[in-house]
Amino acid sequence: MNRALCCIWGGVDVRYLLLAALLALSGVCSANTGVAFVHGTGNQTDAYNNYWQPTMVNNVRAGLPNPANYVVINCNFEQYMWDSRASGCLAGQLSNFISSKGITRLIVITHSNGGNVMRWIMSNPTYDSRYPNIISKIVRVNALAPSSAGTPLADATISGNVFETSLGWLLGYKSDAVRQQQVSWMAQYNANNLYGTSGRPALPKLFRSVVGTDVDSAIWDSDSYCGGYFENVGLETTQNWLNSCSDGFLNCSSQSAAGSVWFTDKTRMAGAEPLSHNQSRRACFGLDSILRTDMSN
């Protein structure tokens, strides 16, 4: 073989290209990738069993070079996103995970309001001295049905405020997290405290969403049972507060409001099934397989 043809391609010495490729490969090989599961609204103490369920977590982490590099976050996301019990707790658990496992590449999987808490950390790196190190390790956030622009259902839950004010009635359970996810509140926070929405600076790392577009709750359809049948019956009712494109809790526009859209449910789910808000955190219709495959990238 002609040595010149072998090693010079497009004016570049192929040996250098090979060397660069090997170096890049060695960089990936030496990387230590981990995944963090960040739950949505709620005060979780066992999100592994109660929020995500073992099938989802174990199937996804199986895609890692080292499946032991995972953490399931348990924090109090009943609080405002900036609260020490919310983002402060999340930062603590992520920092411990990064340091104890020597994580150099962190993939974060969030669901629902967990996306807002994660986005708080990425948008406010100066709020807590632990944030910059976490951001530096993040390669991307896979935000499953994030409530980036809030939900009218939070407004509907809270609206009794007018009467609370005048009568002192407290109707329903109203955490600060629900209050925060009202549409007008998220509009204010997106415009002033969070990045990644239209017209605002981008987030420092990739934040991409999986969007649920519909709810399937027919009693004769076995697909309704994935994630819990009764939960989906309730979702069908609450969908009246939402647009025609929604997952029963969030409008598609809210799920797509921050970062970029990775995919919408029907384009990737088995049988073109939609993902209701409960199903987008469970091993339904191959979602876990897609996330598992993503662990190796």
Binding site: P125, T126, V162, L171, G172, S184, E231, W241, F249
Partner: protein
């Protein structure tokens, strides 16, 4: 090589001229305080270390000034009691498919959807035909709608159209809150504040409109409340100004210790023939106590692409300065290239915060002149915005 060196030196020399103190520029819509207050540090855990951060932006992603949120309501709320509900509560709707939610106050009997009856002109409608959907508390809570125990929702079947209905709950007792939501109605109440961020004592302007397709309904009655995060409320009085409803109020100086936003709640009603049309709308604003302010000067370091800004601190706390660097491309157009922020803990007095954009974040082909935009000073301890300048400074000259 010598030419490149010469250009680099000239460029550095030219840009360095901006190293002297300069005044920040301001525009009409900027938020700038002329006073300071000394208030206690709120309860909570706060970072005490200085933290700086910067990262590159994609110059092709345009940034814009955000506009205040416009609330648009197709719903209203009313109080009732068991006596009225057992006889039949009158509900006027403006479109088919209205949803009715009944929530019991403490001590009131729970509502079971199957026990609710719908009447029209005094005649009961068979439940199977009256409601197209029914949901109880458990189903709603599992769907993520955190309603109170004993709450139920029914949806009036589309085929029954709109107009006056009576909703009857035979065994109701105690007090109830009724929420009527008409997703298919074209009659809305819109409400919008003139800004997103205010300082205590500023003037609040709220514009509202009850009507259809931006056309106001005649004879609208309207009232409003400003509710602080602590729950304290202040009346807002609307006036009809050339057909538009507007409220102008001086914001209170209440020092709030709870986090959260202030709510502007607007309640409006009008008559359409025999029907009563009601709508309630809410939007939010931020009201800050002026705990710190920029002193209005800055120093630019062209080598480090760094802006240094003195601040005056009225109240101990953690303050963050952030901003976006615009650089000029080869086509002469300035675009956003980097974002930077710095925060630190300050006691009452003076301090300095820097925006270190880092030349490594500058994309190839971009350079001076630079513009510093969307500069914001925030109180991280009280979660308020203290100052914002859309276009704060222009520095450097293109050779």
């Amino acid at each position: 090589m010598r030419k490149l060196l010469l250009v680099t030196l000239l460029s550095a020399s030219c840009l360095a001229q901006a190293g002297n103190d300069n005044r920040l520029s301001s525009r009409n819509n900027d938020l700038i305080s002329s006073r300071l207050v000394n208030i206690p540090v709120p309860a909570g855990q706060f970072e005490r270390k200085a933290v700086s951060f910067s990262y590159a932006l994609n110059p092709q992603n345009e940034l814009s000034t955000s506009t205040p949120f416009t609330a648009e309501s197709r719903e209203f709320w009313m109080q009732t009691d068991g006596n009225e509900l057992s006889k039949g509560l009158m509900i006027d709707t403006t479109a088919p498919g209205a949803l009715i939610r009944i929530s019991p106050a403490t001590g009131a009997a729970a509502i079971v959807p199957g026990n609710m009856k719908l009447l029209r002109n005094g005649k009961a409608i068979d439940n199977a035909k009256a409601f197209s959907q029914q949901a109880n508390t458990d189903q709603l809570q599992k769907a993520g709608m955190d309603v109170g125990n004993g709450t139920a929702i029914v949806k009036i079947a589309d085929g029954l159209g709109e107009g006056r209905f009576q909703l009857m709950v035979p065994k109701a007792s105690g007090r109830y809150l009724v929420h009527v939501f008409e997703p298919n109605s074209d009659i809305t109440l819109q409400a919008k504040a003139d800004r997103q961020n205010y300082l205590a004592g500023d003037q609040l302007v709220v514009n509202a409109l009850l009507g259809k397709n931006e056309k106001a309904m005649a004879g609208t009655e309207i009232s409003g409340l400003l509710v602080s995060p602590s729950g304290k409320s202040y009346d807002i009085t609307f006036k009809n100004e050339n057909g538009s409803l507007r409220a102008i109020s001086k914001l209170p100086n209440e020092v709030v210790h709870q986090p959260g936003l202030w709510e502007v709640q607007v309640l409006a009603g009008a008559s359409d023939g025999n029907l009563r049309i009601q709508r309630d709308a809410r939007t939010v604003i931020s009201i800050a106590q002026p705990t710190a302010k920029l002193n209005g000067e800055f120093r630019f370091n062209p080598q480090a692409l760094s802006f240094s800004m003195p601040i005056q601190v009225g109240s101990s706390g953690r303050y963050e300065l952030s901003g976006t660097l615009y650089a000029t491309g080869r086509d002469g157009v300035a675009r956003p290239v980097a974002q930077a922020a710095m925060a630190n803990w300050f006691k009452q007095g003076k301090g300095v915060l820097n925006l270190n954009f880092d030349r490594a974040n500058l994309p190839a082909g971009y350079g001076a002149p630079f513009e510093l935009k969307f500069v914001e000073l925030k109180d991280q301890t009280r979660m308020t915005q203290l100052e914002s300048r859309e276009s704060a400074a222009r520095v450097g000259t293109r050779l």
